[in-house]
Symmetry: none
Subunit: 192 residues, 4 copies
Amino acid sequence: MTGERNEKKAAIAATAVRLFTERGFHGTPTSLIAREAGVSNGTLFHYFPTKEELINSTYYEIKSRMAEEIGRGGDAERTNRERMRRLWRSAVLWGVDHPDEYMFVQQFCSSPFVRRLPPEEFLKDAPAVYEALTETLGTTCLKGMPVEVAFSVITSPIDAVVRSLIESGGDLDADRLIAASFEIVWRGLTEE
Amino acid sequence: MTGERNEKKAAIAATAVRLFTERGFHGTPTSLIAREAGVSNGTLFHYFPTKEELINSTYYEIKSRMAEEIGRGGDAERTNRERMRRLWRSAVLWGVDHPDEYMFVQQFCSSPFVRRLPPEEFLKDAPAVYEALTETLGTTCLKGMPVEVAFSVITSPIDAVVRSLIESGGDLDADRLIAASFEIVWRGLTEE
Amino acid sequence: MTGERNEKKAAIAATAVRLFTERGFHGTPTSLIAREAGVSNGTLFHYFPTKEELINSTYYEIKSRMAEEIGRGGDAERTNRERMRRLWRSAVLWGVDHPDEYMFVQQFCSSPFVRRLPPEEFLKDAPAVYEALTETLGTTCLKGMPVEVAFSVITSPIDAVVRSLIESGGDLDADRLIAASFEIVWRGLTEE
Amino acid sequence: MTGERNEKKAAIAATAVRLFTERGFHGTPTSLIAREAGVSNGTLFHYFPTKEELINSTYYEIKSRMAEEIGRGGDAERTNRERMRRLWRSAVLWGVDHPDEYMFVQQFCSSPFVRRLPPEEFLKDAPAVYEALTETLGTTCLKGMPVEVAFSVITSPIDAVVRSLIESGGDLDADRLIAASFEIVWRGLTEE
DNA sequence: AATGAATGAGTGTTCATTCAT
DNA sequence: AATGAATGAACACTCATTCAT
C-alpha cells in the first residue's frame, strides 16, 4: 500500500511494451497482454480505460526512456561538435541495441490514428540535444526555421542508419557508417 | 480472356489503394473494398487469396507510381548536381501533394509484419535516381557502402521535410526548406 | 433459392420471439438466439445488423400477429356494440392464451429505449377495430380527441383484465370479468 | 449507531432512484450509482447484497412516494364522487409531472424478472384511494371481484391518459382528457 | 468466373460481485 | 463499517475466409 503501489499497472505496461513491440498494435489483443502480465482482463481496463490509451502510455514510456538514455552523459564533451557527435552515436546505438522498441516507436509515429496527437515533444525530454542543436543552428542555412523542423531534418539520417544496421544483421561496419553519416550532416551544416 | 481480363481485378486494386490510404490497413475491411469496387466479396478473394497479398500489391502499386512520377523528366538537367536537386525537389513535392499515399507507404514500411518482405527495390523503379546517385557516391565518405544504404541515408531528410510540411499545414516556406535541406546534404557529400 | 428464401432469417426471428418472451431482452444474448436457431453467430448479424433491430423486428412481428388474430372474424356481428364486445373479448382471450407474447409486447412498450420509435400504428393493423371505434367515438365525450388517444384510453382496461387473469392463475371468473369491464366502458361511453 | 445510521444507505438509495429513473435498470451500472452517491463500490454491496435488491428497494420507494403524494388531501372532498375525481386527477398529474419516475414504475411492472414478486400492495399505501373505492364498488357490476382486480381495471385508463399526455408533449387538452376519462369510468360504474 | 450467404474464432469492453486491508 | 483493487464470465459485434450454386 506504500512503495510498490502500481505493481500491477507497471506489469501491464511492461508487458504491453514487449508485446506491441514483438507483434504490433493490431496483432496484440488486450487479453494476451493481461494474461502475460499475470492479471485479469478486467484489471487491464481498470488501469487503462482503452486499448488506445494503453498504446499511448506505452509509447510515451519508451520515448522517455529512449531520450533519457541517449542524452545521458552528453554534457561531458567540450566542443559542440563533440557533443553532437556523441549524441549521434548514442542515438544510433540505442536503436541498434533496442531494435524492437525502436521499431515500435517508428510504427507508432506512422500509425494513421496517431496523427492527431499533440506535436512531438521529443526535444523537451532531451535537453542536452536541444542545447547542442540550437547552438549549432544559428549559423546555418536552416537559420530561422522552427527548431523542431530543423531538428527532424538534421537527425533523420540517424533513422536510416539504424534501419540499415538492423536489417544488415551485422554485416555493415557500424562505426564507419555512424561516422560517415555524421560527417555529412555536420559538414553540410557548418562548411562555408 | 484478353481485353477485359483484369477489369475487376484492377477495380479492386484501385479501390484498395484509395481505402487503405484513407483509413489504414486495419481500418479497411475486405468487404468494404469489395463493395466500393462494385464486386462481390468472393471475387476479391478470387483475385487476391489473402488480405495480406492485397496489401502488398497495393503497396507496390503506389510505390511504383511514386517512383515513376518523381523520376519523370529528371534526365533533362545537365550537371549531376542539378539532376539531384531536381529529384530532391520532386520527391518532396510528391509527398506534399499526396500526403495520404505518402503516409501509407511510410505506414507500410514501419509495419511489423512487413519486415519479412524482400529488401526494398526502390532504386530499381527509379533509374534516374540510381544513376545520379552512383555517380555522386564514388567520391564521398560513403564510398564502399552498399548503394541502398547510402541511398537511404542520403535521402532520409526528404522524409523529415515532407512530414514537416504536411504537419505545418502551409505555414512553412517550402521552397526554402527544400533548398536548405538539399544544400546540407550535397555540401556534406561533396565538400572537401 | 426461390420460395424458401429467408429460411434462416425466419428461424432467427422465431427463436428470438421465443427467447425474448421467456427471458426478456437483456436476459437473452444474441449468441443464444443464434445457437438455438441453428445458425452461426455471424449469420444473425448478417440479417439483423444490431440486437436492437432484432428486437424491433420481433416486436412488430408479434404485434402484427396479435392484431390480425384479434381482428379476425370481427365483421360478422351486426350491431356496433356487438362488434366491440367481440373484439374486447378476443383481445383479452388472446392475452390470456399467449401470456408470454403479451407480456413481451408490454415489456417492449415500457422499455426506455423504445420511446423514440415512431408512434404506434396498432390501429393500422386492425381495421375492424378502427372502424368499430370511430363509429362509436363521434357521440361520446371523447369527441374531437385524436383517435389513437381515445383508443388507448378506452381499451386500457383490457390490459388490466389480462394481467389480472394471468396472475390469478385461473381463480377468477374470466367471462364475468370480461363482460363487466366491457359494460363499464361501453355504458360510460354511450349513456346519456 | 443510531443517528447517522442510514446516511450512506440513504444516499445510495436516493441516487439509485434518480439514475434508474433517468437511464433504466440495465443502463445503470452499480459502480455509477456508488460513485454518484459518494461511496465506494463495496459499500453499495454492503447495504444491498444484490443489484436486484437495490432495484426492488428503489421501486418501493418511488411507489410509496407516488401513492402518498397522490392521496394527499384526498379526504377533503365531501362526496365520494368528488373524492374519486380528485384522486383521478391527482394521479394523472403526478404522472405528467414525473414522467421518468412514472415510466420507471411501468418498466418495473412489465419487467420479466419481477413477476415473481409478492402481489401489488399499492392500495395499502393509499388508504384514501382504498376507501373511496370500496365504497363505490359495492353497487356496481364488479361487485364481488377482489378489490385489487377491480381497482386495476377501473384505474387503468389513468395510465393511458398519462402516456398520451407525455407523448403529446403538451398538444393535448389535459383537463378535458382527464375529465372525459373519469366521466366514462364513473358513469360506467354508477349509471343504471 | 462470379456471387454472396454462411461461418466462427476473435476483439475490445462492461459490470456485478468478492475480498484483503 | 468502509474501501476500491481485482476478478473473469459475458456480451455485442467484426471480419477474413470458405463454398455451394
